[in-house]
């Protein structure tokens, strides 16, 4: 198990390094970064000055390693627009996004896994049909439209929930549902397919032949095997939510990382964007690593290979 964990950790670090190279090169995407920073009226001298001040005149490898060493120490550079260390801004916003993501994935898993299991126990039953409907609707409905519809009904027509902001836990209900609902179909279908597969397997017959009660067969013997691919998918989706909450955070005016990303793109605040991409990527990598380790814990065969 330890050998496997170390191996996975090594791979995760390599992925993080690759991401850091791509993130760093974002600065050079628009062409000459000094030119991009300078106002249109700037003279050649001003541009050269900017180049020296920001260090763009140094060899690119030196710039990268400088940036990387700083980033590892928690210094993601300075936001051009906010004139503040990017790290401060990010860690100010991150908890809100994490909370939203956690609520959304919890909602998604609580809805999709039981539905998937029920659909698999009684394939083609009414529960299966309902689950399928939820899946199809969920996959087809754009997140922003779903969010706006909820706002209209629960926020304006019935005045049950606050529409914007993060003042209380009630503010998180609609955004979490909107964000989580999008993930539900995939997780549910995967749970259903996995359960159907496992329930037809020989070891489930063995468990029943031992006289085990149906609930024990289902939850001890079947679910543990069926959940393995779901763990991987949920981790990826959670990472996706952290980065992909831009739309939801914008709609509900939640001051999170997604909202910050959207603002920074509008302001062409490159260091800020770099920092956001890097932080989210690291989270994403960490979640994947966590999912791998969880799967290895659940299935001994993974630990060996």
């Amino acid at each position: 198990m330890l050998a496997y964990a170390l191996k996975r950790l090594g791979i995760a670090l390599l992925v993080a390094l690759t991401v850091s190279i791509i993130t760093f090169s974002m600065v050079y995407l628009p062409g000459d970064p000094a030119m991009a920073l300078a106002p249109e009226s700037a003279s050649q001298e001003d541009i050269e000055h900017i180049r020296r001040v920001y260090g763009f005149d140094r060899p690119i490898l030196v710039q990268y390693f400088d940036w990387l060493v700083n980033a590892v120490q928690g210094d993601f550079g300075h936001s051009h627009y906010l004139n503040e260390p990017a790290a401060n801004v990010i860690f100010d916003r991150l908890p809100t996004t994490m909370l939203l993501g956690a609520c959304a994935i919890t909602f998604a898993l609580l809805l999709s896994i039981p539905l998937g299991v029920l659909a698999a126990i009684r394939p083609n039953s009414i529960i299966d049909r309902i689950a399928l409907t939820i899946a199809v609707v969920g996959q087809a409905m754009p997140t922003f439209w779903f969010a706006l519809t909820m706002m209209l009904w629960f926020g304006i027509t019935w005045r049950l929930l606050p529409i914007t902001g993060t003042a209380s836990w009630k503010n998180f209900i609609m955004p979490a549902v909107a964000l989580g609902y999008y993930v539900t179909p995939g997780v549910m279908r995967l749970t259903r397919a996995g359960m159907l597969d496992v329930l037809a397997s020989d070891y489930i017959r063995t468990a029943r032949a031992k006289g085990l009660r149906p609930m024990r067969v289902l939850f001890k013997h079947a679910l543990r095997n069926a959940i393995l691919p779901v763990v991987s998918l949920a981790a990826v989706q959670f990472g996706f939510m952290l980065g992909g909450s831009i739309v939801i955070e914008t709609i509900f005016a939640i001051n999170g990382l997604g909202f910050l990303a959207w603002e920074s793109i509008q302001r062409a605040d490159l260091p800020m964007m770099q920092a956001i991409v890097l932080v989210l990527s690291v989270f994403y990598i960490a979640l994947t690593l966590l999912a791998d380790l969880l799967n290895a814990f659940l299935d001994p065969r993974i630990r060996v290979s």
Partner: protein
């Protein structure tokens, strides 16, 4: 006469398939006495496994079981609720399956799966169940049993896994063990070991054994009684001696002719084979089931269903309109040629 552990009369299993109702098992009757071994023989798809699964009530949902009598230790198994039936499974009757490679849960240790089989039915502590598991693993010939408890199925070979399955079936010392082709998936050398093991276990624990197989060599070695199954029906039943010495049904005879006999079968000569294929069992069949492949078929075979009747002795029964001597005599000339 010893009281039978298991009594089955007119067991039928019908399975709903898209094209109609498939009569997988038709009017099968047998009984098994304490410590006795019944071998059910037949080719793939003849209903052997369905018969075993129906005794355990582990049939797929599309299957319907009916019987005039189905008792285990004088308790009627018909109409039991799933909950009552699950109390019997693994406790009074246990089953060993054909596929040792996939019959154990890959995510739990051997020890966990063994102990669970006992703790479900007996009020024992974890350590008592563990001691029982170690005792039985040693019994089935696994060395270093205590260390094996922490191992996972993928760390064991097929033969070892089947031994674990056998040990698991013994955890509650059931009166009856159903073994559904327990050696089919194993190497020939391992097959012999597992068979010896089953025979030893049966003798030591006085367990009754229903062994399902298509391997007549196995039958000859371990069976007390034999039932030959064809297309959902028992076509011949009797003691192993009766069936092997005086096979009375053309199908049994055909099966026996398929086996090469060292010293008798000439090198390069053709082994026997039964021409044709198993009939489709969807829908009602009003003839002898074997008629389409039988070398002696005549009008009488096609005029209606054929009942079981006594061959040379009352305990030896076969399902054919012909006199038993015809087939028996033919078999002898068949092997000599």
């Amino acid at each position: 006469m010893v009281k039978p552990i298991l009594e089955v009369e007119n067991l039928c299993v019908d399975i709903d398939v898209p094209s109609g109702v498939l009569s997988a098992v038709q009017n099968v009757s047998f009984s098994v006495a304490k410590g006795e071994t019944l071998c059910i023989v037949g080719e793939s798809g003849c209903g052997k496994s369905i018969t075993a699964l129906s005794l355990m009530n582990l049939l797929p949902k599309t299957a319907n079981r009916s019987a005039d009598k189905l008792t285990l230790d004088e308790r009627d198994l018909r109409g039991l609720r799933e909950r009552e039936m699950s109390n019997i499974r693994g406790d009074q009757m246990a089953m060993i399956f054909q596929e040792p490679m996939t019959s154990l849960n890959p995510t739990y240790t051997i020890g966990n799966q063994l102990e669970e089989a006992m703790r479900r039915h007996r009020d024992v502590s974890a350590s008592e169940a563990r001691d029982r598991a170690v005792f039985l693993l040693e019994k089935v010939g696994i060395t270093g049993a205590r260390g094996r408890l922490g191992q996972y199925p993928h760390q064991l070979s097929g033969g070892l896994r089947q031994r674990v399955m056998i040990a698991m079936s013994l955890m509650c010392e059931p009166a009856l063990i159903l073994a559904d082709e327990p050696t089919t998936a194993l190497d020939v050398t391992i097959q012999a070991q597992i068979l010896h093991l089953l025979a030893d276990i049966r003798d030591e624990f006085e367990t009754s054994l229903i062994l399902i197989t298509h391997d007549l060599g196995i039958v000859a070695r371990v069976a007390d009684r034999v039932a030959v199954m064809y297309a959902g029906e028992f076509v011949e039943t009797g003691t192993a001696e009766q069936v092997f010495n005086a096979p009375s049904h053309p199908y049994t005879q055909g099966l026996l002719r398929c086996i090469p006999i060292p010293g008798k079968t000439k090198r390069g000569a053709h082994l026997g084979a039964i021409p044709g294929i198993v009939p489709n069992l969807v829908g009602k069949m009003d003839t002898c089931h074997f008629a389409s492949r039988c070398p002696y078929v005549d009008d009488k075979c096609l005029s209606g269903p054929v009942d079981l009747r006594a061959a040379f002795e009352a305990s030896h029964q076969y399902r054919c309109v012909l006199s038993p001597k015809v087939c028996a005599g033919n078999l002898k000339s068949g092997t000599a040629a």
